[in-house]
Structure formats: structure tokens, C-alpha cells
Assembly symmetry: D2
Amino acid sequence: MAKLTRTGISLDRELLLRFDRVIAKKGYKNRSEAIRDLVRDYAINEDVEENRVVAGTLTMVYDHHRPKLSERLIEAQHHAEGKVLAATHVHLDHHNCLEVIIMRGRSNEVRHIADQILSLRGVKHGKLVLTTQGKGL
Amino acid sequence: MAKLTRTGISLDRELLLRFDRVIAKKGYKNRSEAIRDLVRDYAINEDVEENRVVAGTLTMVYDHHRPKLSERLIEAQHHAEGKVLAATHVHLDHHNCLEVIIMRGRSNEVRHIADQILSLRGVKHGKLVLTTQGKGL
Amino acid sequence: MAKLTRTGISLDRELLLRFDRVIAKKGYKNRSEAIRDLVRDYAINEDVEENRVVAGTLTMVYDHHRPKLSERLIEAQHHAEGKVLAATHVHLDHHNCLEVIIMRGRSNEVRHIADQILSLRGVKHGKLVLTTQGKGL
Amino acid sequence: MAKLTRTGISLDRELLLRFDRVIAKKGYKNRSEAIRDLVRDYAINEDVEENRVVAGTLTMVYDHHRPKLSERLIEAQHHAEGKVLAATHVHLDHHNCLEVIIMRGRSNEVRHIADQILSLRGVKHGKLVLTTQGKGL
């Protein structure tokens, strides 16, 4: 954790009450933490837009009975060597698997790896999340 | 404008500097205004989720030579009487028009009207924006 | 309209039935039109990513009693000369206005104009939609 | 895999060529697979909107030195018993961890669990992905 500083904002009383009500529903214990989360999210978007190094997770659902798909998935991950940090696999039912691949790299590289994997036949659905490495936040 | 109030937040100095840099790029003159925008956006999401009355704008691009499309678009807007406030039309080229329909109503109603219009044959692309009526913000 | 061509896709029967049910709810009269909309939307994303010329609409809600805001909004639009095609204004209530600005330009330019306007004090909320000019779709 | 069926769509030749170019860039080997992915994604949205049982993954970045955060994260996951299937943890640096929690449940329940976790102090950023269980796709 870095040095804390304090900043003040002025806003309409009615808006503030409404914000407090919404964040309470979401589970926030205090307003400062909720505003920090908004500020961080806004700042993180810049990392993604500027093609900086980010962390990314690709969630995908696929049919593991599809011929050769498992080999192709492993191959794609090995091609992306140094960028894939870990992968977790869950059996949803007899046919369907959910897999999450955790990556680190420049945002464009991570997006490219995700595109290649999601376009494989047998991968039914998937979504990529790009987030921060956490430094300076 | 309602009564102004003031609230303080504490956050990492490094994060604050980074936030300041990003908002300057976007054109913000000060931090307080940028944070207010984040707070408002967060609060407005609730209006949409809770099916409250919101304002909405539907942007769509269509080919006005498509037989009967103009009649169908007008008909759809009249079916939505009391909810369509205005519509603006721009000629993009000989074939293509862009039209923006401004609406007010419960978020689910506005979504339904947009779905019906976007599914018409000849409407090539479109997106709905849901926003606030502005009260209490 | 350009020359029509035909393509076939094979997919699970169960998925197709489900798709048919969802698109009927959204108002689609037939499957072909619904799939064309998905294909167009996918292709249009590329225009935005590649910084091609696109159409854009900025929806914003603001308080027109805010001192100097109207002048600033007009000034911002004039700075963007040649890119702002039209603007429509709706009075939501005594204080609040909704305005939609229709633009055409490279996606990054249109985004920049939107950022500058949304960061003005008194502009409470806004969203940018980027879409196609319609050619070749 | 269920029974395959075949459907035809007609669309502008120019649009089809453009679509082919975009999907090739993304890594698709053929058009049919790309369209199937669009169709599945559209159908899956309905599961989420209708509060059906879905799979979900929550990606979050946090500072594991934050006092009591680890306990609170474990507690939150245990409260969600039967819905959390697995969790994977990666050490990004001395302070920062990335964790992915894989869940299954009704979309509103999964969203609620995610909200509670993301609002904890020390959780810096996070995003929830909702996807299908894979059946009938």
C-alpha cells in the first residue's frame, strides 16, 4: 500500500443520498471505498486502451468430446508461452467444460490469444476480462 | 440545482495522480467534476435496472429505399405514442439514413420499442442508450 | 442494395429452436434477418477499431441553467466543424435538457469530441454510440 | 452433441466478403463456425436476462496484505455454498493477487455474490462474466 492522500468533492445532497443507497445494496460498507472503486476502474481503462501490460482472464465453455479440441487448446496456450499463467478447468456435465485461462501481457497480445482460442470449433462461448496488475492502485 | 454538500475520500497518492492524468486527457477541468460524473453514472444504472422512468435514444441506420420501411418505422413510433418525444433524420448518402428517436418511459418499455424497430427488415444497425431524466442529479 | 448471395450454416437443432424463440420475442419476422443483423454488427465493430469513418451520436443530459454551459456546448460543436451534422434538443423539465448530437468522422475523432463535451461542468450524463455510414452493409 | 440441422441465409455479397475478412483475422477457419458463435452468444443473453441457471466467473485483483481480507473472501465464498465451484489464485507481485472464482447459479444470485465480494475493502478491481452451462448449445 502506498501513501494515502485525501481529496474532497462537492455534489448535490440528493445525488449523494441516492449514491449511498445504491452502494449499500451492493454491499459497500462506506462511500470512500465505493468511490475508490470507480476511480480505479476509470484509471484501469487507460491501461487497456494504451496497450500496457495488463492481467486478463478468458472464460470459455466447450465440449471436450469434440475431436482434437483439447490438443488445440493446449497448443494455443503453449504458443502464448510466457503469457499464460494458469488455467482452471471445471466439469459442468458429461459433455461441457468451463475453463478459465489467466494471462498477463500487453492488452493487444492478450486479446489476440483470446480471439484465437474463441474461434476454435467446439468452443461454444467465451468472454475476456482485462484488468490491472494491481501496481499503483 | 439542489443543495450542494461536500464529502471527502482518501486514496493512494499514486492512484490520484494517475486519475488526474487520465481525466485531463478527457478534457476535465477538475477532479470533483470527474468524480461526480462517475457517481452519477453509477446511480443512473439503478434507474435502468429497477425499470424506472428513463430517457432513451435509439440510433439506427437504414436504407430508405427498402419498400415499406418508412411506413413501418412511422407506424412503430405511433404505436409507442406518448413515449416517442422527437426524431431526427440525417441523409448519409443516396441510400442510407441515420435516424435518432428520443424516448421517455420505463426502461423495459423503451427497450421493447427499440427491439421492435431494430428487428425491421432494412434497418441495418442500431443501438439504444438509456439515460436519466436528470432529476435529482 | 448490392447483389444478394446465399450462404448456409449448420448448427444444432436445439440451438436453432432456441434462437428462433429469442428472436421472435425481439420482433424478428425471420431468421435470416436476425442473422444478418448479427453479421453486420460484428463487421461494424471493425470500422470502429480500425479508426475508419463512422457515424456517431452523442446523447447527453444537462442543466441549461448552468451558467455559460450553452455557450460552451455550441463552441465545442463549432470546433468540431464538418463533423457535427445535426443536433436535436428536448426539454425534459424546467431544468433538464436532453440533446443528441449526430456526427460523422474517424472513430477516434468522434470519441474525442464526445469526451470534450461530456467533461463540461453541468453535463450530467452522456453516452456515445458509434455506428456505420451504411455503405456495403 | 445434438442433431445437426442446416439453415440458409441470404445477404449482400459485399457484406459477406467483409465478414469473411474480419473473422479470418480473428482466427476462424470457416464462416459457419463464426455465425454459430454469434447465434449462441445471442441465445445465451436470454439465460442471463431470464434469471436462469448460468455459469459465472469473477475475476478480481486484491492486496493480500490488507488485514482480514483473506478471511472475508473465504467467508463470502462459504456463504455462497453450493454456488462456488472452484477458485484459482495467481501471485502477480509481492502485494497483488489475482483470483478467479468459478460459480454456478441463477444469474441474479451469481451477480449478488460478485457484488458482495467486489465491495470488500482491498479488492481493487473486478469483473463478472456470465456464460452458459453449455447444454443445448
